[in-house]
């Protein structure tokens, strides 16, 4: 069976800095990792391969040449092959343009039974690429998959989706796209032998021409989303200390606390509550 796993290279969250002028993430090679949530998709693929060594796994990423680091980590973990979609023209792509390029690469490579991805990337936080790839490829998609088993024929899968108020178990025919959540299992660490193999591996890379796309279909030009402005929320904390060591102080403190909570809208005046209750109880 053939599996493709979509991976993204993201900055490590503890070394993340924003450009104060542009509000965009300052990316440096030194502190980039595989998107932590993509590791669960890799783990899901590797578990299928553990059970069936005939499985081949391809890791696919789009990004600057440095994204090679993420792909090599995927190879070290046990993927068989890695492809990087790269080129200046792809710069500034939103999730739609990214999905279009990744779908083109997947079509070109062809023959995948499963296309797996993480729930979302820790930098963009959209969770859109997986479903959009499915849309471009006209494949069914399951998001938030927490466990997965395949039929012996490898033509069908049974997947458990972890949803807000419980879980859904679905049986579906392959090929399809799935995004995974953490419930799938802790991602494995790469072995030294894997690291060595990954270091020596040749990565394939696809450019615009390889994918048969035009410059208008990708990068900032091919992206319907425009980032107009980025604001960093200002964190403010206030504290007021009230002296409540005496009876009198306690009364004053309570009054002040109530006034403050009313002012901040944390509580509503009792008259309003009474009115609301009355309104609710009327037929």
């Amino acid at each position: 069976m053939k599996i493709a796993v979509l991976v993204k290279q993201v900055p490590e969250t503890d070394s993340l800095t924003l450009d104060p002028e542009t509000g965009t993430v300052v990316r440096s090679e030194d502190s980039s990792i595989v998107n932590p949530l993509d590791l669960y998709a890799l783990e899901a693929a590797l578990r299928i391969k553990d059970a069936d060594p005939e499985t081949s796994i391809l890791a696919l990423s789009m990004g600057p040449p440095q994204a090679e680091t993420a792909l090599r980590e995927a190879l070290a973990m046990g993927c068989d092959e890695a492809v990087l979609v790269t080129g200046r023209e792809f710069g500034g792509s939103d999730t739609w343009a990214t999905s279009r390029a990744l779908s083109a690469a997947l079509s070109k490579l062809g023959g995948f039974d499963l296309i797996l991805c993480g729930e979302k990337a820790t930098d963009g936080d959209t969770g859109q690429v997986g479903p959009e790839v499915a849309a471009f490829l006209d494949l069914p998609v399951l998001t938030y998959v927490g466990s997965l088993s395949l039929s012996s024929s490898r033509k069908e899968a049974q997947a458990q989706r972890i949803v807000e108020d419980g879980s859904q178990v679905l049986r579906c025919r392959l090929p399809m796209v799935m995004s995974f959540c953490k419930a799938i299992g802790e991602p494995r660490l790469p072995l030294l032998s894997g690291k060595r193999r990954a270091k020596a591996a040749q990565l394939r890379s696809f450019g615009l021409a390889d994918l048969g796309l035009t410059a208008e279909e990708t990068g900032a030009k091919g992206s319907p989303t425009k980032v107009v402005k980025v604001d960093r929320p200002r964190l403010s904390r206030e504290a007021t200390f009230m002296d409540a060591r005496t009876e009198e102080g306690m009364d004053k403190a309570c009054d002040a606390l109530i006034a403050l909570m009313l002012e901040k809208g944390l509580i509503v005046p009792s008259a309003a509550v009474a009115g609301a209750t009355a309104a609710r109880t009327q037929p």
């Binding site: 490590e12 503890d14 070394s15 030194d30 502190s31 990792i33 932590p36 680091t69 980590e73 070290a76 299992g185 802790e186 494995r188 660490l189 790469p190 072995l191 030294l192 032998s193 894997g194 690291k195 060595r196 270091k199």
Partner: protein, 475 residues
């Protein structure tokens, strides 16, 4: 009068101390607030002892006045940092004053020209490294509790930690101290100097003196550049002998000194993984090594870990895992760092030990430890710093033993453990200190003439023996 003729504290003493440090910085006659100062992180409460007062000075001048007053009244004074010690070093064994240095918590000077930092004893060790981060520098003394412990405690105990195999222990980086003697006299020793043979090396006599010679009020540390890249290997072996046997070969054959060589036996790994709900692949491993390496760039780090990992494989490693980004490195380190806590949660009644043996003797020690545990009918999980022979064997109280039986048999087990380490050329403590926890056993390591000489030094510094009495030496 109490033991050794110390004065019992009275209301007038508290008033005098309040006059020095302010009313709110003295705790007196308040059992509930005094209790936290009666112990450190040593699991067994039998080493705890209540202070009569806690005094929290804000400056060297205040420390000096407190010491002068305590001297005049002959009140014991026990300096205290974060209370994260593991030998009862900051426990007021004879009552009296606990001198808490938590308010003296300023980093006074980051000197980028001399590559030194000057800090007060109450600074949390990790905050020094946080402050130095943007300069690409760090204090390479690396106690495992760095997020909670205070620098003053590190210096007083000469703390070691997980990077000693390459970077050495706290003392290597202490170049200057300001200290207050028992009399209240203030001394400035050493300075921002990397060489200094002017007279006896009092700086390094005071480092590790466990608060028994003077109160440390200011510390000058030399700094190191932060390595650009790091990676961590996790190698699993069939057993202790195989794991430990790999360690000298790593340095000899790969010709690389790892930053850390940490040893974990199976019981320790299982406890920590269970505690953290972590699933690192321990498989059938009887023991594991955590190895950290540094390098200038990715290629150098790869070459280093590849070489070290290769030696592990040649030495019989079952598997070697690699973590070369912060997320995965932290995952592995977290398992090692949480062993002590995990064992404590699982078995709160225990004795966390700290023996140190010559590195080549570790397999013999582990073998002896296994038979000791079997003969005594106790579990003794063991982990620690394989690169420097410092092993945290942890004696766990069996559930069926009564308190009385535990107390009696623990003493006997510890004596056997210490004698085992001594017979291999080792010592009873490598980095936690003697304090009151191990003082009855120091004679296993030191002959009477050595102890007499040490006591003589103590008498010169502190003729009235008011500083941290009841520590290091037996009654």
């Amino acid at each position: 009068m109490k033991a050794q003729g110390f004065a019992l504290m009275e209301g007038a003493d508290a008033a005098a101390l309040e006059a020095i440090v302010g009313k709110r910085n003295v705790i007196f006659h308040d059992e509930e607030r005094l209790e936290p100062f009666s112990h450190d992180e040593t699991a067994e409460r039998s080493y705890a002892s209540m202070p009569e007062a806690v005094v929290r000075p804000a400056s060297t001048a205040e420390v000096s006045k407190v010491m002068a007053y305590a001297s005049s009244r002959r009140i014991p004074v026990t300096p205290r940092g974060a209370g994260s010690g593991l030998s009862g070093g900051c426990v007021p064994a004879m009552g009296g004053i606990v001198l808490s240095l938590d308010r003296m918590n300023a980093i006074l000077d980051i000197d980028l020209e001399n590559l030194m930092v000057v800090a007060q004893p109450g600074v949390v060790t990790n905050s020094i490294n946080e402050a130095l981060k943007k300069h690409g520098l760090w204090f390479a003394g690396y106690p495992m509790s760095l997020e909670t412990c205070f620098l003053g405690g590190n210096v007083a105990e000469n703390a070691g930690g997980g990077k000693a195999v390459k970077y050495g222990v706290t003392s290597r980086y202490v170049t200057g101290l300001e200290v207050v003697l028992a009399s209240g006299e203030v001394l400035r020793l050493g300075g921002k100097l990397r060489k200094d043979v002017t007279g006896y090396d009092l700086v390094h006599l005071l480092v590790g003196s466990e608060g028994t010679l003077a109160v440390i009020t200011e510390i000058t540390l030399s700094l190191m550049p932060v390595p650009r890249r790091k990676a961590v290997l996790l190698a699993s072996f069939a057993g202790a002998a195989e794991a430990i046997g790999a360690v000298p070969r790593i340095i000899r054959e790969a010709r690389i000194v790892p930053t850390s060589v940490e040893y974990m036996d199976r019981a320790s790994i299982l406890a920590s993984c269970g505690y953290l709900n972590e699933s690192i692949p321990y498989g059938e491993a009887g023991a594991m090594l955590l190895l950290e390496v540094e390098g200038e760039g990715n290629d150098e780090v790869f070459a280093n870990y590849s070489a070290i990992g290769g030696v592990c494989e040649a030495a019989g490693a079952q598997s070697v895992y690699v973590a070369d980004n912060r997320t995965t490195m932290e995952r592995i380190w977290n398992v090692r760092r949480n062993i002590a806590e995990a064992l404590k949660v699982r078995s709160p009644r225990q004795s966390l030990e700290d023996v140190v043996v010559p590195t080549a003797a570790i397999p013999a020690f582990m073998e002896g430890l296994l038979s000791l545990a079997a003969e005594e009918g106790v579990q003794i999980p063991c982990y620690g710093h394989a690169g420097d022979g410092n092993l945290h064997a942890t004696v766990i109280k069996p559930g069926q033993w009564s308190e009385e039986e535990w107390a009696r048999r623990l003493h006997h087990i510890l004596e056997r453990l210490y004698r085992l380490s001594n017979s291999l050329g080792g010592r009873i403590s490598g980095e936690h200190g003697i304090g009151n926890k191990r003082r009855d056993f120091i004679g296993i390591n030191l002959d009477p003439a050595t102890i007499a000489l040490m006591k003589g030094i103590k008498a010169v510094f502190d003729p009235q023996a008011i500083l941290n009495p009841g520590k290091i030496f037996p009654e």
